[in-house]
Symmetry: C5
C-alpha cells in the first residue's frame, strides 16, 4: 500500500454512475514527491492532513460494497508517522 | 486515479474489434510530466483542455458495458483544479 | 494505453506453450525514453516504425482468444502522430 | 516480486474491517530508494531488518485466506542478500 | 513484458506454502537500471546471464499450474539481444 497525506478534495459532477457516493481525495505519497500525487476514493471519512493507507488497482474492489472503476482506495487512517529503524 | 488534462485525440483505424465505439484521448497527468502522457478511452465526451479523472488497469472494466482491452478510462470530468491544503 | 513505436522483434524459442502464435515486438514509448522500452505481444501485424497503442496488465486478456501470460498487447495501429493542443 | 528490507511498523486503528489481523510493515526496496518505500501486509512474522520478498497488486490474493484490499504482501523471508553475477 | 538478464538466485526458506517449487531469480531489466531489478519466479530453468521475457502482475497466473502469489514470472528465454531499428 501507499502511505500518503490527504491534501484536498477533487469534485467531479459529471462522472460514471457507479462513482456516486465516494469522496475523491488528493493524496500526496509520504515517501514520494508531489509529482506522484494520486486521487483516491474514500468512504472512511479521512480529512485533510491525515496520514492514510491507500490500496491500488484491482485490490480496491475487496474494500467496496459494489464493483466500481476506482484504482486507489483509502483502506485505513494511520495513527502516527512511522519510525524507520536501521538494524 | 490519475488527475489529468485532455491534450488531443488519438485516431486508430486498424484496431481490435471490441475497441470500436471508444474515443481515445491523450491525457497529460496534472502532477506529472509530459513523459507520463497516457491514452485513455472515453465515453463521457471529455474535451480538449478539460481536467479528468482516469482509472487504470483492470478497474477500467467496472466502467464498461462489455469487457475491452483498455487499461485507462476516463471516469469523471473534474469541476475545477484541486486546491492543495497544508494543515 | 501506452502510445509507442515498434523498434524490432524479440525472438524466443524456449517459451511457455500458450505463447506460441504471438509475435513479440519491442515498443519504445512515444512520450517516454528508451529506458521505458517494453515487449508487447502482437496479432494485428504491426511493423517496425509503426505507431501503436498498447494495453497492459490483465486488460490484455480481453483482446485474446485464450488466456495467455502477456502483460502488454498491441490493440491498435495509430493513423498519425497525435497533435497536442494547449487550450 | 520486490526484494526489500523491513524498516518498521505502520499502525492503523481506523481501517477496513477485512484488514484486521494483518501487520502492516514499512518495506524499503533493496535495489530502489527510500522514495519507493511501500507498506506491505504480513502474516509470516517478518521482523525489522529482515530481507523479504513482496508480491503486489491482485496477486496478493493468492496468498490470503480471504479476499482483502491489500496490494502488497510479504510472501517470503530471504535467507541472505543475493549475489549478483556478471557472466 | 520486460526484457531482462538473469543476475542470480534468491533463496527463501520461510515462504508461503504455494511458493514451493518455484525458483526465484534476480532479473535486471535490459533497458532499465539496476534500480529496477526485480525477482521473478521461474519454472523454465533460465540460467544466470540469459536474457528472458518476464510477464507481470495477475497475468503471471496464466502461466502457472495453480494460483500463486507471484507478480513476475519468466515466460520465455530470448534467443539473442534485440536489434532496435530506426525507420
Amino acid at each position: 500500500m501507499i502511505l500518503g497525506t490527504v491534501r484536498g478534495n477533487v469534485i467531479s459532477t459529471r462522472k460514471m454512475e457507479n462513482l456516486v457516493g465516494y469522496k475523491f481525495l488528493l493524496v500526496e505519497p509520504y515517501y514520494g514527491t508531489k509529482k506522484d500525487m494520486i486521487v483516491a476514493a474514500d468512504t472512511i471519512g479521512a480529512g485533510v492532513g491525515e496520514l492514510v493507507l491507500v490500496t491500488t488497482d484491482e485490490t480496491t474492489q475487496h474494500a467496496l460494497t459494489h464493483p466500481s472503476p476506482v484504482d486507489a482506495f483509502i483502506v485505513g487512517i494511520v495513527d502516527y508517522p512511522p519510525e524507520e529503524k536501521k538494524v
